[in-house]
Symmetry: C2
Subunit: 357 residues, 2 copies
């Protein structure tokens, strides 16, 4: 389905929501056939030759750009960037307390690709943001029935982020034309922010004084306090930068293995402007830790893959991972302390159980 | 001593290390007589008329600047900034496991002032950083006997941070000439970074390809894994941005009070490029939480003061606070999970015990 490998964990077929088996995320780049897919509506099929991008709002010059205009008028730029769904690892929260109507994402709603396109900043410079512009909103054609009222997907990012070097309007993923399932012909890529802000099939870019009033900016993708009613809009705060997170990709949760040295591997990632500097792995649920070796990242906006070897005695063992960023912050120990009504941002220590014989 | 209020908690008189009683930190700005004081050597007394600043290293033009040069050649700039000692709340770590030779700072090794000076970026622009410059090092005249070998205090920050608008060479604190105890005549102020990088009595600024090799950059002020030997240099990572933290300033830890509504107040702060968006306060050690109201910050680099009213039943009660930043990150629950051999960065939930009658 949608060019994905056969063993994807498909949470929903329409809209299409799927994540790969964790081990498929090993390596610096994720092949397109394994890249997680998070959709709120039907995947549109858009002819690249007729696709047009409108740039409007608080700008001096409104623009209408064909794909060829983007490619010819602006300097191409490539960034390796990790996209992470705000609901990644929601299953860990749902184990604490159910979150009705939400997808139980495991630890693989996160993937990394090399994106090629143009800098959003260059396109905005051509339009000329006018005084008062403080947020850049994106809209797409995919209508989400789950929204209240049903509406096309959209969102916004602060102008400061939109003007950064790393935010792209991308038409290529890992050297290939961007597949429809990942927003082709052109999507926004906002490195370091939750995936929801990297709007696929982007068709308009609007400079605003305030954040977008689209349902997915104003009501959904917000971190609410535990006791909040998720149907009441405007509570909590809109998510932007990704929180520090990590996960174990191998062995599989529930695997059986022989006692002795066991290779453990995973990813660590953090959002806007921070870097992962240390990853700890525990063979005993967090009582003792060793430091993993961390591969060089493929870029400033890419996850870091890590490896460790644990000496596991026989028995039921809980392997745990946690990352540290360059401000000395680490991840919370328990999903119970970060539980929230929409199930976002579960960055608690990742835990798997293995049966060691 | 050093113009401080009488009720300072003096951890050491020489070098002078003191923090105010927590309640003295209520309010957006901290008076100079309550501002925490962290020193590694004797406080130098420097005549402002003879003070000179040398700018050298990987620059096109070396500079020698008197205070009058700084004040006349560059545009003055004022920033409200919170400075936080990397060892703030170390006492909470020492309660888990002792940390010999380190000061048991409570939650008041953090303070906020309005600083006036010039932008470090403007001074660096006058010197012209040369290719290869990646770090800006600061040195001071205060010799630290605790260093190995004994040496004047120093440190460095990445060039990217040094070129930001907010980093100052400051000669004024809360509208008064900078007191000797706070680095007068001129100190560095690096908002959002641990206090150790805001070098007092700065006498030279050097552009380097690598971080400073000063003891306080290369060996001290590093976050080590729990099992590391703190006497072995170069382990862990050098601290820079401040980790998300918060504390209860009133009531006092150990206070007695009547049952019923009780006002609780405190601060929340986070480092480079993040914002505090929520503070939770618990009347029962973290089982249930209410959201505090957060005062507007006095500036982008200042802490946020918060207030809540808890309804406390009689008995021994544990009041707990934790903050959330705009990436959806929160603080770790337990100091045991962040314990480290030098006792830095204890940003676990702050807890006080009160006796409710």
């Amino acid at each position: 389905m949608w060019g994905k490998r056969d063993d994807m964990v498909v949470h929903q077929t329409e809209p299409f929501n799927a994540e790969p088996p964790p081990a498929a995320l090993a390596g610096p780049l994720t092949p397109a056939d394994a890249f997680y897919s998070r959709n709120h509506g039907s995947i549109p099929q858009i002819d690249p030759s007729t696709w047009r991008l409108r740039v409007d709002g608080l700008v001096y010059r409104e623009l209408d750009l064909f794909l060829a205009d983007l490619q010819e008028r602006f300097q191409p730029r490539t960034e390796v960037a990790t996209l992470a769904c705000a609901g990644n690892q929601r299953a860990g929260l749902m184990a604490v307390r159910d979150i009705p109507g939400q997808t139980p994402w495991g630890p693989a709603a996160i993937s990394t690709a090399e994106w090629t396109g143009v800098r959003l900043a260059d396109v905005l410079a051509a339009a000329g943001p006018a005084p008062g512009a403080a947020h850049i909103a994106f809209t797409a054609p995919d209508v989400a029935q789950v929204a209240d009222p049903p509406q096309p997907f959209g969102g916004s990012i602060p102008l400061r982020k939109a003007l950064s070097d790393e935010v792209l309007l991308a038409w290529s993923m890992n050297g290939q034309p961007l597949p429809a399932a990942h927003g082709g012909p052109v999507r926004v890529v906002v490195p370091g922010y939750i995936g929801a802000r990297s709007v696929k099939w982007v068709q308009s870019i609007t400079a605003l004084a305030q954040p977008s009033d689209n349902y997915f900016q104003a009501a959904d993708y917000r971190l609410l306090p535990p006791d909040a009613d998720p149907t009441r809009p405007g509570q909590g705060f809109a998510l932007g930068p990704v929180a520090l997170t990590s996960a174990i990709l191998s062995p599989d949760d529930g695997a059986s293995m022989a006692a002795g040295p066991t290779d453990v591997a995973g990813y660590a990632f953090t959002g806007d402007g921070r870097a992962v500097v240390r990853v700890d792995v525990s063979p005993d649920g967090g009582q003792t830790w060793i430091q993993a070796s961390i591969d060089d990242a493929a870029g400033r906006w890419a996850w870091q893959q890590w490896h460790a070897t644990l000496d596991l005695p026989s028995g039921c063992r809980e392997i745990t991972a946690r990352a540290w960023d360059d401000a000395g912050e680490s991840q919370p120990e328990s999903p119970a302390t970060v539980w929230n009504p929409m199930g976002y941002g579960n960055n608690s220590w990742h835990r798997i159980r293995v049966d060691v014989r």
